[in-house]
Symmetry: C2
Subunit: 317 residues, 2 copies
């Protein structure tokens, strides 16, 4: 059984097919958040702190930490900023962290100060990346996210993306890194641009699980890019990828609709024994018609009737 172990100073988490879905909180990331980027450059970590606490409170299993403010020379500025951000976050919350950077020097600087066993995000199939990142993964004995693109970019052909993933796993093995420390991101395309994006990723996830036996992740909200009511699409996508074998995702845990989908899929996938987490979370739930766009007539009396019906029919039939 594939088990990817990540840990903070005090808390260990296992990513695996028989484990609750691992929610990697995506919020501590200045990319596309100008205000946050400006704050971090100024040494103001108020939003970082707020986002760290809110994501853990909302149920994040881990937190991604990215300090990629768009500087003129990331190689010069990002290592120190990533270290500073990481130290603040690991001093604040007890969940394991993901060190997220495209700057190898920043990843190594963060690995030197990280407590526990962080996840590194990420390596790709690009030769330069493999040579820069895999030695760090081996040296620090940590797991890594492997994104299935290479020098040729992101292929629209899922078979090509699978082969890139296979190449990364093989190259990692050459460095003495086991497959269970590779978490493959098969890359999710926006369904609005490519109608087969969903079926592609479901098929890829099954192959990654069955053939490479690796854990998997993705940037979850990519799927709904550009279409209305994205949270509804995301919430439908989560059970489908979990059913296809995905074991983690980089996502926003502060969205209740998405987190409800994660919890429901854990129940249905058999990783919430006795529905314990579900019941603890929703035992006082009051039925409501909200959270959906089409306010169709609501009738709360539907529960259980079908089953009762069949059993009743069978009894008298």
């Amino acid at each position: 059984m594939t088990r990817t172990i990540v840990a903070s100073a005090t808390k260990e988490v296992v990513i695996g097919f028989d484990q609750p879905f691992c929610v990697i909180g995506e919020r501590i990331n200045p990319t596309g958040r100008k205000k946050l980027a400006a704050e971090m450059v100024e040494g103001n970590f108020e939003t970082v702190i707020k986002d760290a606490l809110a994501q853990v409170a909302a149920g994040a299993t881990m937190l991604d930490v990215n300090a990629g403010v768009t500087a003129v020379d990331p190689n010069a500025t990002e290592p120190a900023l990533l270290v500073q951000t990481l130290e603040i976050v690991q001093g604040l919350v007890d969940v394991p962290l993901s060190i997220d950077s495209s700057v190898s020097a920043a990843i190594e600087a963060a690995l030197k100060v990280a407590k526990g066993r962080p996840l590194v995000n990420s390596v790709t199939g690009e030769e330069e990346k493999l040579e820069a990142i895999l030695p760090l993964i081996k040296k620090y004995d940590v797991p890594v996210v492997a994104i299935s693109n290479d020098e040729t970019g992101i292929s629209e052909d899922p078979d090509v993306r699978f082969e890139v993933a296979r190449k990364i796993v093989q190259r990692a093995a050459d460095f003495g890194i086991p497959a269970h420390d590779i978490v493959v991101d098969p890359l999710v395309m926006p369904i609005g641009a490519m109608g087969t994006a969903g079926k592609q990723v479901f098929a890829l996830l099954r192959r990654l699980r069955e053939e490479l036996k690796v854990n998997t992740t993705c940037g979850l909200s990519n799927i709904s890019f550009g279409i209305p009511h994205r949270h509804g699409i995301n919430a439908g996508f989560i059970p489908m990828v979990i059913g296809a074998g995905m074991t983690s995702a980089i996502m926003n845990p502060c969205r209740p609709q998405e987190m409800e989908a994660v919890r429901a899929a854990n129940v249905l996938n058999g990783t919430d024994p006795n529905c314990h987490t579900w019941i603890m979370t929703y035992r006082d739930h009051q039925p409501a018609a909200g959270g959906t766009a089409q306010a169709a007539p609501v009738d709360s009396s539907s529960g259980g009737r079908r089953r009762g019906g069949r059993e009743a029919r069978r009894a008298r039939g």
Copy 2:
């Protein structure tokens, strides 16, 4: 490609792996609805009419029609009542109907007056049922729901349920009924009572699709029997069964959370080309925190950032 064709007088619907999920509205069923049963016995069809219109308005693909009021002798009373109910419903709405009864004489009486090509609900693997129902299916050239239990009851072993389904398909073939006119119900157990119920049914659905090449259905809300916030579990279950190959379900289309899950899964499964239905339904959607029990901090700014982040990183990496 497996295609089960159902039709009303004016409208044909195809149930199939490459079709939008077929939502069979469950509401016209007096089992467990004492008030509705009392009305129907009195010849009052106000609720039937209201439920028919509401379900079609909410997006039902088909409507199930059951007149099984708990009479002393269903064989004497149900045929006439089912015919009456069916005629009212088929005069009112244009969607195909499912004739739902455990009384063979009622099914035949309804088949005589039904317009188009209704679905018959249901036959089981019980010898007496096979002998009573399959000749009607052949004679009227209609499709039938095959429930995978037999004289020994409902097996908890999914392999036994699969073999019951196979037996029904084989017996149907002996009558000259093709597999594409059999819609198998693999039987969904409550997840609260059996933690493996979800994984069982996902595996069964794959086998039914790949080995028997049949369409499938289930009484959807069975899965959430007895646990809080059932609609959240149902809404997570729908994308998972669709991902596993289920092509229809008997469910309540008047529940917006469940119907949103159906529409999202159709987008993701590639059966809502260009996201047309999704966009038409949700284009004016206003983000809201409602519809979920845990009101975690909400931040609507998460969309698309992750993708932007990766691309931005790649560009500067």
